[in-house]
């Protein structure tokens, strides 16, 4: 199946490289940003809850896809046809902006990607994704912050620091490098997901509290419905409106001449065990929010868009087969989405593992063939000139064997 995929497994490629080439890469001088007048920016969007990569960028050319993913598989035909990216992959129709950027060679997909984490706990998966360590439990600092910290003192990017968007600082950007905090000007009500989960727990354990909370939530909804539209809170970072709004504000801050050059956002709500939906439905609505965020960054960054790389990552994927409640459970391989004027786009980068039972990871999940850390290392190396040695030791500790994926940046 790999004939449709442009770049083979980067780690396999790395093995093929000569020792000399590795050595040369590791100690290459810093990217000469001043010389070509670039002013690079990197935006990391963490999608919490484990994104279904197979419903985001569907392998519509894979003969086993429709059977496994059932009613929620993307399709090139029908009323909500997926948007073709190449002859094999198509993106969810909720993401027209991403499809347009892809055509303009400003967006790319790394498919069948995963961190080094192979278990199925959100919490541990997010620790690994955001801390950059090989295993869970490291929660003091994140790789993005350590990347800032690793830049030479006086470096413009390091001096301007990072931006954390949202009411709490994502782990990925926590650490000793300076980070600015910003949150949209409203108190997001707790997500409907949280309310539903608490209600579900009460219905099993405490019916009295279930009745009270249900009535309170209903009254709240009615009260909000009566108000003028502008009075409504835009919603939390697990709603399409909230994602768009967060990106809009962040773009303003990042676009400023003296604004931060790296930013971290965290969008919630991707844990789609039940009624996930495919081309339409809950997941599509969230993907629409992410697409809206891409659009707001493109608009808000203006001139700076050309120097910007955005990467959207998640702790792990979901099962390839849909479950009994038309959703998916915790899986492994998924997608990393890249967008921005600095991205060398128009490509789905994957060493496609296939979807036959024997090809699935633990016979359940899309098997990971690309390491998310390789993608992130590649972005950091080419945007900010961090060396493979620093990336392998300090930013992503003990990851020397995971080589930066090159040529992601124009």
């Amino acid at each position: 199946m790999s004939l449709l995929c442009e770049i083979p497994n980067p780690s396999r490629r790395a093995v093929l490289m000569t020792g000399g080439a590795l050595f040369a890469w590791a100690y290459m001088p810093r990217f000469a940003r001043a010389a070509n007048n670039r002013d690079p920016r990197l935006i990391v969007i963490v999608l919490r809850g484990a994104l279904d990569g197979l419903s985001t960028v569907g392998p519509v050319g894979d003969p086993d896809y429709a059977g496994l993913h059932g009613d929620i598989a993307l399709s090139l035909s029908g009323p909500h046809a997926a948007l073709p990216l190449d002859g094999f992959f198509a993106v969810n129709p909720a993401m027209p902006v991403f499809a347009r950027l892809f055509k303009a060679k400003q967006a790319a997909v790394v498919h069948a990607a995963a961190t080094g984490y192979r278990e199925r706990s959100h919490f541990d998966g997010q620790d690994v994704l955001e801390s950059g360590f090989a295993g869970p439990g490291h929660v003091a600092t994140g790789w993005l912050n350590r990347a800032l910290e690793s830049l030479p003192s006086g470096d413009r990017v390091a001096t301007l620091g990072g931006l954390a968007v949202g009411p709490s600082t994502p782990l990925v950007i926590r650490g000793s490098a300076p980070v600015l905090g910003w949150a949209p000007q409203y108190l997001p009500a707790p997500s409907d997901t949280l309310a539903a989960r608490v209600l579900d727990l009460y219905s099993h354990r405490d019916p009295v509290l279930a009745v009270a909370l249900k009535r309170g939530l209903d009254a709240d909804k009615m009260a909000l419905g009566d108000k003028m539209d502008s009075m409504k809170p835009k919603g939390g970072l697990d709603s399409a409106a909230g994602m768009r709004q967060a990106a809009q504000g962040a773009a303003k801050l990042i676009a400023a001449d003296d604004g931060p050059r790296v930013a971290a956002l965290a969008f919630d709500g991707w844990d789609t065990h039940v009624n996930e939906g495919g081309a339409t439905g809950r997941l599509a609505s969230l993907l629409g929010g992410l697409d809206g965020a891409f659009e707001e960054f493109e608009k808000g960054l203006g001139e700076r868009w050309k120097d910007t790389a955005i990467v959207a990552i998640t702790e792990f994927g979901r099962t390839a087969r849909i479950n009994g409640t038309v959703g998916t459970d915790h899986g492994t391989g998924t997608v990393a989405l890249l967008a921005g004027g600095a991205i060398k786009g128009g490509r789905v980068i994957a060493d496609w593992p296939g979807l036959k039972p024997a090809q699935l990871y633990e016979q359940r999940d899309l098997a990971p063939t690309s390491d998310v850390r390789a993608v992130l290392k590649g972005l950091l190396a080419d945007q900010f000139g961090l060396s493979a040695a620093v990336l392998g030791d300090k930013v992503f500790p003990e990851s020397g064997s995971v080589n930066p994926m090159r040529d992601l940046i124009t």
Partner: protein
Amino acid sequence: MAAPASPTRPDSALVVFNRFGLGARPGDLDKLKGDLRGDPRAYLKAELRQPDIAMIPYDDPAYAGLLGSTAAIQASMAASFQRKLDMQAGTRQATMTNVAAVPPPVAPTMPAVASAKPAAVAEMLAKPTTLAAGATKPVAQPPAAPPAPPPIEARLFQAEAQARFDKALKADVGFVERLVYFWSNHFCVSVAKDNIIRASAGAFEREAIRPFVLGRFADMLLAVEHHPAMLFYLDNQQSVGPKSRAGNNGKRGLNENLAREILELHTLGVGGGYSQADVTSFARILTGWMIGGRDGHLGEPGNFAFNANAHEPSDEVLLGKTYPAGGQGQAEAALNDIARHPATAQHIATQIARHFIADNPPPAAVTRLAKVFVKSDGDLRAMAATLIDMPEAWSTPLAKMRSPFDFIVAIRRAAGPDPANNPNQSLGWLNALGEPLWQPPGPNGFADEADAWASAEGMKIRLDIAWQAARQVKNIGNPDDTLNAVIGPSASPETRLAIAQAESKQQGLAMLLMAPEFQRR
């Protein structure tokens, strides 16, 4: 309403930390297992033995902002007088501007009294939280007019609130703190009454409640009814004996408020066997119990003062006993007797059992507590120990709701204080949940039944708060671990699963803070 789902005997760790205490902090459950070899009763009693356990340490520089009630009331009186002068000056200048060629100096603005209004609460809740974690520095909010320096009453209130929250977070189990809140609510005053109470409510608790929670009920009663905050709150300041020297002109007369509430709420209880004649008689006995005014005529301003001119100079019959005329001592004698009345024992025993065991307390538990009250001459330490030893305290299902204050404290203990360690957010949450600090709806205090707090609106707001709190936690740990640390092995399988399946740590922590095991006590 119905009891919660689990009819089984509650886990003893939850009885210690939820029923008796303020919620476990990570590590507390291990201490219960380790230090005291799993003897939960001994663990609770250990707190009763710690010297000065109920007191706020005045010599701690952190509490330099606290004033005694007399000084606080003096400051409030002075500020109120100054505001009056400023207002008059402002009015005069406003009338002069027509003729003055030179603009007059700007009159100082009258400071607004900070009181909990629904709009202010909504605004507090709606305010975006700025990040203050670690290297994260908050982006300045859009520039607003610099706020006027708060009036002295608001500053004192804030310092007292800070001290109360600090104490709650540092408490080991928090049983003694829970006793403080119980008695403070039993003998409540309200800051909504007047700035004088806003300035002195915290001092009232420190002076009239804390020193006595493990002492004698009669001593607490005397301290409370002597206290200027109580005398002011229940209008005894206004009360004048009709036959007293001050009452002879007929302009001012008797006010029964304090006398009625002492009998109805503080001691005997409704149906405690007193009549209207007793109330009136007791009111006459209490005349002259006042606060020294700003002018200093009665004694030190802001302090308790006995005004012999306002005191009814006659013998009075109360509950069948005659109290001979005798100035201030007449009421003291009456209070000493009422404190030991069998109806008082029954009333206090019922309230304590309702607070710590169940809305409808087991009659045997009430009877036992009442007996101890009588036998020990109102020894509140003996009452607390009895409560700990009572089988009903360990077998009754955890069906009560944590009060808003207990809920917020439990959140802070489980998840860590907010980064700024500033009481304002907690105070805002308390307002939103309908239990504004030291501001009960009436002299009967805040409700103590589960239904009062498990309301529709209340639960929705608890959800909002749980979510807000969870998102603020810096370096949030694994919520499964937090569940084990603050609820322990008795967490229900459903709760355990719901938290394990949360899609983020924040969501998992919010689920924990909303779990029945966290809400109920």
